[in-house]
């Protein structure tokens, strides 16, 4: 199970928070602060797993995070999730954002938190992984958005130019990104 998904920037400002277990607002903020504190002091070269954010869960839980340019994507998961799998899921999620926002940058997340939530809802539901196939996720998101004008209509992007998130290539050899990417046949009614 995934217990929480946090996205914050290099200064610890939350950009999206999604708890799958109830915490009061002040507790949520404390968790964000603590997580930021844990994650931000780590070098970019060190491993992406962290044990014991003491606030969430306890010993069974791990923080799995990735750092893209200005943003940290942190998943708090228990031992039933595969660490490398979640690492890959973060990559899938970020690539999905990249597709939906066309070259995603932090500003997109700032101004369209709701839409980021809707995209996340297609990936993770109630703390469980719903879909890992990027094409399927993008298709679902666009199905729902299309009547009301498309995600990409984001005027805010023009406000200021912010460095792109520099999505790194998926590392070739570990292949964890290679999870079932084919267009599924949509079953008829």
């Amino acid at each position: 199970m995934i217990k929480a998904i946090l996205i914050f920037n290099n200064h610890g400002k939350p950009r999206l928070i999604r708890f799958y277990q109830y915490f009061a607002e002040d507790m949520q903020q404390q968790i964000i602060r603590e997580t930021f504190h844990l994650v931000s002091k780590r070098d970019d070269n060190v491993c992406n797993f962290l044990e014991g954010g003491s606030l969430i869960g306890g010993s069974d839980y791990k923080l799995i995070y990735r750092h893209y340019a200005t943003l940290y994507f942190v998943f708090c998961v228990d031992s039933s999730e595969s660490e490398l799998g979640i690492l890959d899921l973060i990559q899938v999620f970020v690539e999905t954002l990249d597709k939906c926002f066309e070259n995603v940058c932090e500003l997109d997340l700032i101004f369209h938190m709701d839409k980021v939530h809707y995209i996340l809802q297609e990936v993770v539901m109630g703390g469980m992984v719903l879909e890992t196939n990027m094409n399927e996720i993008v298709a679902q998101v666009e199905n729902k958005i299309s009547p009301s004008g498309g995600l990409s209509a984001a005027p805010a992007r023009a406000v200021s130019a912010v460095k792109n998130m520099n999505l790194p290539e998926i590392p070739r050899n570990i292949n964890i990104g290679d999870i079932n990417i084919k267009v599924p046949s949509l079953s008829p009614f």
Partner: protein
């Protein structure tokens, strides 16, 4: 003008959307909080608007503010409003906000049940999807109970997108409402083989989550998962399954044997690291489970270790460095698992792991530390700890250094100091650790010092000397207030010096050290120990001084005490104060006696006589209840005031009984206890690390023959805390090496002497291996005193279980057949459609009854047989017809086993020939593993398999339409029938039964609580005749359709038509298609993308004699007129030899009544409504109505969806509301056989039609 400005600003205010809010916050960096509070005020204004778009916008902004940490729970009701918007974009905003801030104690959640149910059953899959997503975040036990059935229906939805979500959310439902697990499990299991990979993956996900906590309940699914593992190409699914197997193998070693090969293949073939890693992990789990049984898996172990080594040491240039680090981390993690069972294979990689201690990544270092913990042996402990001490010195962050410190202590103290051969060395290590600045773990070091000093008697002299030095140099530890944590060590030092003061070289010096004024700056609890132990020291000093002829020395000591103690008497700490004043008075008294030349040393010493023994932490808890003591029995019988109260306490105790199982320990009989005690003594006698509890244990130590050849280490007891150059513990490492060499030499000598001498207790295990563990003898004969436990205490491992674990409730046997009472609660007014479903059943009763009876009888019989067998039958039942062919694949090796069995032939009765009742399907599947002894067994099972028991076959027949969305309903119908047979005596049941005897059914509980109470009183007067709203739609020789129409409360333009299809013939009906010719006013809702004339596929097939219900949604524009729609049902009739295409025409009659919805109304609201004057009246008279008044009312209520507002004698007011919000009020009066109904409604045409329909209802009877 001013007005215009105001209006303009208001407009702008309402225009502010999420983006504006974000921009605004970014522009007000300095006064953000102030800006946000004005925004919140604006939002509050917006929420007061009626416009749903404005509300949605406001709620969206609130969601953003919630992320910033603002509590928005005050808007919970508005969120619910937005959730119930009919527009998807708003609805979604509402659900998002709800999922972010609703939780179990949000009270408005209760209001959402109907809204969510409506959304779940919405024809728009995105409404359903968004409701499921939202619900997954805030589901409560109540919601779970109320909606479980709806969600279960969605698991068979036509869209995979919905199926997948419905399957996933079931896990949350199970957690909140464990009773739903068993009824829902069969369908969940079905979804493992769903054609859509996403749904399959969701089902795997849910079952894996369930099985992780209670794996034993899911063992029977192993063959299915095995099949998935070998066939699936989705890495996510594979990873989940492989992880699940990892949890299952410990329970069933045979499963492990079966897994090794495919897993090894995957390890070799996969390129995905994540999958490889999980495979390695599960292989490790398998090997652990097999470790006792199968000796020859060294190849697999080697493979794993080798792959892990690659993970740890290789850094791939193509990878991000952080990903390489992740691999390293995981490699170490997996290594530590192997370590537990195969330490040898890991120990050879010690170099690699020590290397990892230098890694710049803290997580990796911590993992390496964990590994080291398991890798130590007597041989390498000192070496490893030495390395760690080096790291302690190097470590920068205090967190990591503290971690190192605790690890060193953990490593040394593990399994009762098993690996420590030289306790002097260990004490030195502890003393060295006290030099750490700013550590938080002073108390840890202190407790180790105390523990060692108390339990290892041989070391006391040395320990006391070291502690005395520590006390002398206390200023080093306390000099800096920053180092506060470490002064805890002084607590231990003072206590040890006081308690074991007989070992002190110079007690006087220590006494002085303990009474220094500086001590007063220490924390209170440490001062208290100082004072108390100063008294102990004083006693010792007195004893030594009184022997001398010169009595002045003793008096000087007393004077010293009297001089120094007042400082402590003034302490702010109560405990210090109390002890100090007590002791001060004592010393003053002693001084008086001394002045009279009375010898008092003996008596003072008697104050502190006796030895303190260590007590195990859980000792108190484990004191057994003495025999004959019943903790539950009253000491005095409570006075019984009245009989009714008497019963209450009894009930309470009956419930609580299971909690009191602990006292059962007392039942162990005396013999058994004696035997155990004996066994324990024996064990302790054989174990050199334990000593007998005899008070002379110290002598035992001295008398041990081994003591002579232990090299006597000369230690300068006055060693300063820091030895320049070489840290003290290093000396021991060298000495130890020398000692071991010496020993080895000695041993060789001894061996030459044919090992005449054998050291007691060690002789047994003495191996000749030159470097084996056991050869290393401890430098001290270590006497580790066991912690004291009460006599008879039993080891119990239930101490650590968390009673609040939600997963405990899910520990449910899933293989047991579903009992009649187990069903998901169904929404009350949905029961109406169900009962006619039963109608169908009862009409077929003649056909089905004997069959069912036999099933039941056989079930009864089965109960007698043992449980395993029952399980196996159930399993067969479930799997037989579905997995037949697949199972055959798995059985490939057993070519001679005739397993094929088609559904038709399984009807043929063949008595079970099973000769081995112990064997279940799982056993059979497992026995396929290459274990020679099992093959025989396997073939007999195969035979048993070939002839399935008849009840299995007949039992499956009624259940064989797995994909029906309604089968929960039919199940319900069936089970209520069973109830009937059981003749339950509850009144409600009785009523139901009566109704069921006729082939109709009345059910009426739509209204609110008050209303149903009124109806209850109505019914009491005289039993009501049975009623049903279902009327015939069409019928021919194959099929019969009955239908009912209900309005949709939340959506004014929708009605739901429930049609029950009943197969009347004896052929199979399939490919049913339902089509209606739309009119301008009413249209059948068809899925997106289908044309206006396309039919809807009925989502099930009908075997002979079975009926099932389908619901169709229609949109209507005007509801004031009744309407008829023509339609056709086409279907295929399939016989054994032929299949024909048939069709059946029908006319759907939408009455005005069907647009009415039973809505409870209070009399005051009703009165207001009538007073308002908006309603137009009309009236009707019914002649010749010959029925009791309450029957009349009940009929109107039931058939025309009214509720009774008030009833006075023969006059009643009734109310109903249409789906478009028209109010319909009736005043019904009766006199003799004439009934007059005065009615009012805001839509006269509607009213006229409703009255006509009411009239018609009564003219029919």
């Amino acid at each position: 003008m001013a007005l215009k400005i105001v209006k303009g600003s208001i407009d702008r205010m309402f225009d502010k959307n999420l983006q504006d809010l974000v921009r605004g916050i970014r522009n007000h960096k300095e006064d953000e909080a102030k800006y946000i509070s004005t925004c919140i005020d604006e939002i509050k204004q917006e929420l007061k608007q009626d416009n749903i778009a404005v509300k949605a916008n406001a709620v969206c902004k609130l969601t953003y503010l919630q992320m910033l940490g603002y509590d928005v729970s005050w808007a919970a009701f508005n969120i619910v409003e937005v959730m119930s918007s009919s527009k998807f974009t708003y609805k979604r905003i509402g659900y998002l906000a709800a999922s972010q801030c609703f939780h179990e104690s949000t009270d408005v959640i209760m209001l959402t049940t109907n809204q969510i149910r409506k959304d779940l059953s919405s024809p728009n899959q995105y409404d359903t999807g968004v409701a499921l997503t939202g619900l997954s975040c805030f589901v409560t036990p109540d919601l779970a109970r109320d909606l479980a059935n709806d969600i279960m229906t969605l698991m068979s939805h036509t869209k995979p997108y919905i199926r997948k979500k419905a399957v996933l959310i079931m896990y949350k439902v199970f957690l909140k409402y464990p009773e739903s697990l068993r009824p829902a499990f069969p369908r969940l299991k079905e979804k493992l083989e769903d054609p859509d990979p996403g749904v399959q993956s969701a089902a795997v996900n849910v079952i894996c989550e369930l099985a992780r906590r209670n794996p034993k309940n899911y063992l029977s699914l192993a063959p299915l998962f095995f099949k998935l593992m070998t066939s699936s190409t989705n890495n996510w699914v594979l990873i989940k399954i492989i992880k699940l197997f990892g949890a299952l193998t410990p329970l069933e070693p045979r499963l492990g044997k079966k897994l090794i090969e495919p897993l090894t293949n995957l390890i070799h073939s996969t390129s995905a690291m994540s999958l490889l890693y999980e495979c390695v992990n599960t292989v490790i789990a398998v090997l652990i489970s097999l470790s006792s049984g199968m000796p020859n898996h060294s190849a697999s172990i080697q493979l794993c270790v080798q792959k892990l080594r690659i993970l740890i040491e290789d850094s791939d240039q193509n990878c991000e460095p952080s990903v390489n680090a992740c691999m390293k981390y995981l490699g170490l993690l997996a290594m530590s698992k192997i370590l537990k069972t195969h330490p040898k294979s890991v120990q050879s990689h010690k170099d690699l792991i020590l290397q990892c201690l230098d890694d710049k990544d803290e997580s990796i270092r911590l993992r390496a530390l964990d590994l080291l913990y398991g890798m130590v042996s007597k041989k390498n402990l000192m070496e490893i700890v030495k390395k760690l001490m080096l790291h302690v010195d190097k470590a920068e962050g205090t967190t990591y250094r503290d971690e190192l410190l605790t690890k060193i202590i953990d490593i040394c103290s593990q399994s009762n100091y098993q690996y420590i051969t030289n306790f002097e060395w260990y004490i030195s290590i502890l003393v060295e650790l006290t030099r750490l600045e700013g550590t938080r773990h002073g108390h840890l070091i202190a407790s180790q010092m105390l523990d060692v000093a108390i339990r290892v008697k041989a070391i006391r002299a040395f320990a006391v000397a070291q502690m005395a030095t520590l006390l002398d140099n206390a200023h080093l530890l306390t000099g800096n207030m920053q180092r506060n944590g470490i002064c805890e060590v002084l607590y231990a030092a003072a206590w040890i010096c006081g308690e074991f003061s007989e070992h002190l070289e110079n007690p006087m010096q220590t006494l002085e050290a303990m009474l220094r004024p500086k001590v007063a700056t220490l924390p209170g609890h440490i001062q208290a120990v100082y004072v108390q132990n100063a008294a102990k020291l004083f006693a010792t000093v007195l004893k030594s001084q009184e022997g001398n002829t010169d009595s002045t020395a003793a008096q000087e000591t007393s004077q010293l005490m009297i001089d120094r103690l007042p400082l402590f008497v003034q302490s702010a700490n109560l405990e210090v104060q109390e002890r100090a004043s007590c002791i001060l008075q004592l010393v003053k008294y002693i001084q008086k006696l001394q002045q009279k030349d009375v010898e008092i040393a003996e008596e003072v010493n008697a104050l502190f006589a006796g030895e303190l023994n260590p007590v195990a932490p859980k000792a108190q808890k484990k004191v057994p209840v003495p025999e004959g003591l019943d903790l539950d029995a009253w000491i005095n019988e409570p006075p019984s005031e009245s009989e009714s109260e008497d019963e209450q306490p009894k009930a309470i105790f009956a419930k609580e009984e299971p909690k009191h199982s602990r006292p059962r320990h007392t039942e162990v009989d005396e013999k058994e206890l004696a035997r155990r005690r004996e066994a324990r003594k024996q064990e302790q006698a054989n174990n050199p690390f334990y000593i007998k509890a005899s008070p002379s244990s110290q002598k035992v130590y001295q008398d041990t023959p081994g003591v002579e050849h232990i090299p006597v280490v000369q230690i300068d007891l006055s060693v300063p805390l820091k030895v320049p150059g070489l840290p003290m513990s290093d000396q021991y490492v060298k000495l130890e090496e020398e000692r071991r060499q010496k020993e080895r030499a000695e041993k060789k000598k001894k061996e030459k002497k044919k090992r005449k001498e054998k050291r007691s207790g060690r002789g047994k295990k003495h191996d000749s291996g030159p470097e084996s563990e056991e050869d290393i003898t401890p430098a001290h004969q270590v006497d580790i005193v066991t912690e004291e436990m009460p006599e008879n205490a039993l080891p119990s491992d239930d101490d650590d279980k968390d009673p609040n674990d939600p997963h405990k409730a899910l520990d449910i046997d899933l293989d047991k057949p579903l009992a009649d009472s187990e069903k998901l609660p169904v929404r009350s007014h949905r029961e109406t459609p169900k009962s006619p479903a039963e109608d169908g059943d009862t009409e077929n009763a003649a056909l089905q009854e004997p069959k069912k009876k036999s099933t039941k009888e056989k079930r009864e019989k089965k109960k007698d047989k043992d449980r395993d067998r029952k399980k196996s039958k159930e399993e067969k039942k479930k799997k037989k017809h579905k997995h037949e062919e697949k199972e055959e694949d798995l059985l490939g090796g057993q070519a001679d086993a005739p397993v094929v069995q088609s559904e038709e032939t399984s009807e043929v009765v063949a008595p079970p020939t099973s000769t081995n009742p112990e064997v279940s399907d799982l056993d059979f599947w497992l026995s396929n593993a290459p274990v020679p002894s099992n093959t025989q067994e396997a073939t007999t099972v195969a035979e048993a398999e070939a002839a399935p028991p008849p009840e299995a076959a007949s039992g499956t027949a009624p259940d064989s339409e797995p994909d029906q969305p309604q089968d929960a309903d039919t199940e319900e119908a069936k089970s209520s029938k069973h109830k009937k047979k059981k003749q339950k005596k509850e009144k409600e049941e009785k009523e139901k039964k009566k109704k069921k005897k006729h082939h109709h059914h009345h059910h009426h509980s739509d209204g609110g609580g008050e209303e149903s109470v009124q109806n209850g009183t109505v019914e009491e007067e005289e039993p009501l005749p049975p009623m049903s709203n279902y009327c015939l739609l069409a019928e021919n020789s194959y099929i019969k359709m009955v239908y009912d129409i209900q309005g949709n409360l939340q959506d004014g333009s929708q009605v739901v038509v429930s049609v029950i299809f009943e197969n009347k013939g004896d052929s199979f009906l399939k490919s049913m298609e339902f089509n209606v010719l739309d009119s301008l006013n009413s249209k059948l809702q068809r899925p997106d993308g289908s044309g206006p004339h396309d039919g809807l596929t009925v989502p099930f097939q009908l075997p002979p004699g079975v009926s099932n219900e389908a619901r169709f949604v229609f949109t209507v524009q005007s509801i004031i007129m009744p309407q008829k729609l023509k339609g056709t049902l086409t279907f295929i009739v399939k016989n054994e030899d032929s299949s024909t295409h048939e069709k059946l025409d029908f006319k759907l009659h939408f009455t005005c009544t069907s647009y009415l919805i039973t809505t409870p109304c209070y009399s005051d609201a009703f009165a207001k409504l009538l007073e308002s004057g908006d309603l137009k009246g009309s009236s009707v008279r019914l002649e010749g109505v010959n029925m009791p008044f309450h029957h009349l009312l009940a009929r109107i209520c039931f058939h025309h969806h009214f509720s009774v507002v008030e009833r006075i004698d023969s006059c009643a007011s009734m109310y109903s509301r249409s789906i478009q919000g028209h109010h319909v009020c009736l005043l019904v009066k009766t006199s003799g056989q004439t009934v007059s109904i005065d009615a009012k409604c805001d839509e006269p045409t509607l009213l006229g039609n409703v009255l006509d329909e009411i009239k018609q209802t009564f003219s029919q009877c």
